[in-house]
Symmetry: C2
């Protein structure tokens, strides 16, 4: 059993639909003649070349078959979040995207599972949409790791996390809107440098602020890309917490003690990195996630885990499927 819990889709949104969100920045999909390839667009600017598995569930299912993926948990491509636009435009947008995601998954309801998106800039609306999405068939919510200058320690965002804990709505936190600005113009540096830092910042914002102390332990929260640079930098963070008062002031426990409060996916692309990740997080807190269908994802889904030296068969089964079944409540699909 192989469950890939980190995959993205992008519906065939027209330019007109995107313009209702934002005339000059709304994301839409331009499909090339033949229907096999296309571009994610922002107004008239190409954002990323893509291919049909991103929007066509049948193309996707064929690839899942070829890769031996039994179940895939799919969520929005982060450019669809819309957090930067007016809340009154983003609630209907999120609802529409969430309904389209369920349509996408309806092609194979036992194999395709959706996570919703929410208008995080309006916490009340975000809580309502998370609950509505759950009621309509979503298995959780994906959020970005921040909202402008507000990171996950922000009072409103903590309220949203508390809501998800109370309603048993699992969360995937994905980096987006990457720091670094003009200094990362080439070579996809925002994806290589800023995304791991964003994810680490998201985790540390929950730990060092003491937010984890105020959020129910029942919260199911997973960070993408193996938690970014978090696991490798944790020794530096623990050392800093021990020796500098201003780092411990809001965080009563050693930062590494909070690792049991969250999950990560397995998308780290290197056996040494995965070994360290497993030591830091435990194999019971890592879930197979590929970042499909993008070129920066794992191209042979699950190969790294399958070939990981030192992992027992039980470790591999947990990472491949068992942890995700528990986290996302997929018992009815695998039972």
């Amino acid at each position: 059993m192989k469950i890939d819990m980190h995959a993205h889709h992008f519906p065939r949104i027209t330019r007109e639909e995107a313009a209702a969100l934002s005339a000059d920045r709304g994301p839409w999909l331009r499909v090339d003649e033949g229907g096999k390839t296309g571009q994610i667009m922002r107004a008239d600017r190409p954002f990323r070349p893509v291919y049909d598995s991103l929007w066509d569930p049948h193309a996707r299912l064929a690839e899942m078959d070829a890769q031996g993926v039994d179940i895939q948990i799919t969520c929005a491509t982060p450019i669809m979040f819309g957090y930067e636009f007016a809340p009154e435009k983003v609630l209907p947008w999120a609802q529409r995207m969430n309904d389209l995601a369920l349509e996408f998954c309806a092609a194979a309801p036992k194999r395709l599972v959706a996570l919703a998106q929410v208008p995080l800039q309006d916490i009340d609306a975000a809580c309502r949409e998370a609950s509505r999405a759950k009621a309509t068939g979503h298995h959780g919510v994906q959020i970005g790791n921040h909202l402008g200058d507000r990171d996950l320690d922000d009072e409103g965002l903590v309220t949203f996390l508390q809501h998800c804990a109370n309603e048993n709505i699992p969360l995937l936190v994905h980096p987006w809107d990457m720091m670094g600005g003009n200094r990362m113009k080439q070579w996809m540096l925002p994806w290589l440098v800023a995304m791991p830092a964003e994810t680490q910042l998201g985790i540390l914002s929950l730990i060092l602020s003491g937010a984890f102390e105020r959020i129910p332990e029942s919260l199911k929260i997973c960070f993408a890309h193996g938690g970014g640079s978090f696991a490798f930098m944790l020794g530096r963070v623990d050392n800093a917490w021990k020796h500098r008062d201003i780092i411990r002031k809001d965080c009563p426990r050693l930062p590494s003690e909070y690792c049991k409060r969250f999950y990560v996916d397995s998308a780290v692309f290197d056996h040494g990195a995965l070994r360290l990740l497993a030591e830091v997080m435990g194999t019971d807190r890592i879930m197979l996630g590929s970042d499909y269908p993008f070129p920066l994802g794992e191209q042979s889904i699950g190969k790294l885990v399958a070939e990981q030296p030192g992992f027992t068969d039980a470790d591999k089964r947990a990472i491949y499927a068992g942890n995700a079944v528990e986290f996302f409540g997929l018992q009815s699909l695998v039972g």
Copy 2:
């Protein structure tokens, strides 16, 4: 033999001296009554509490004795760089700081070794000062990892690196002026999240731009804090290079092939992180570095390396001293 190659000092600069560099941002040292503690200041704003080993070589030598450190390589605290000020003010400032560093080291010329600073915003002046500093007794130069929006792939900065390669001037690259801005106001997040990202960005700027192809292989360049998040993210970078054309366009080799072109220090604070670092870099490219005398440094200098599972005695000797002797040309001090 234990050589600590990552340590900082800050001379007893007066507020008046600092004002000659910048009236509202010049860094200086306010020493408390009793002379044992103080504050690094920017104009009238406290920047960081410090203690006498930062400016008093005799206090430092007593700590080196207690820690069993035979030789220490010391460089400016990055707030002293002055890269943001007018070049004509920064050249004399850098010269003065470099002369003060030699005075500091003169307290124990066989045990304290200095790295210079240069006015990097004026590449000609930076090259001249690097050469002058070498002639006056410095064993290399410390630079910041960027200069505003210019990273290490910037043409001027590459010219400086080429100069250092040609003149056999070893370089330590230290993160500073950290990305993230308003989002990292508390808990020293710039030191925990942005510094590792800055260092990774510095390394990737040399790799992905193809700059390493244009710089002589003789360049000796070392990145602080174990290279930041570089080693852990390298799998992601290699994978991205393989599968996305815009990442390989200026970089002819797999990014991991460039690891042999640079060194890192050992300041990673965790055995799992150090093991991964040694796998990625080789134990011949790691040098003991503590970030002394700051609370975010290794408090028991060399303990992590000494107790590292899997390191042979030869590995430990190389990291403790052998690699630094070769890198900085310290044969006359240890022979």
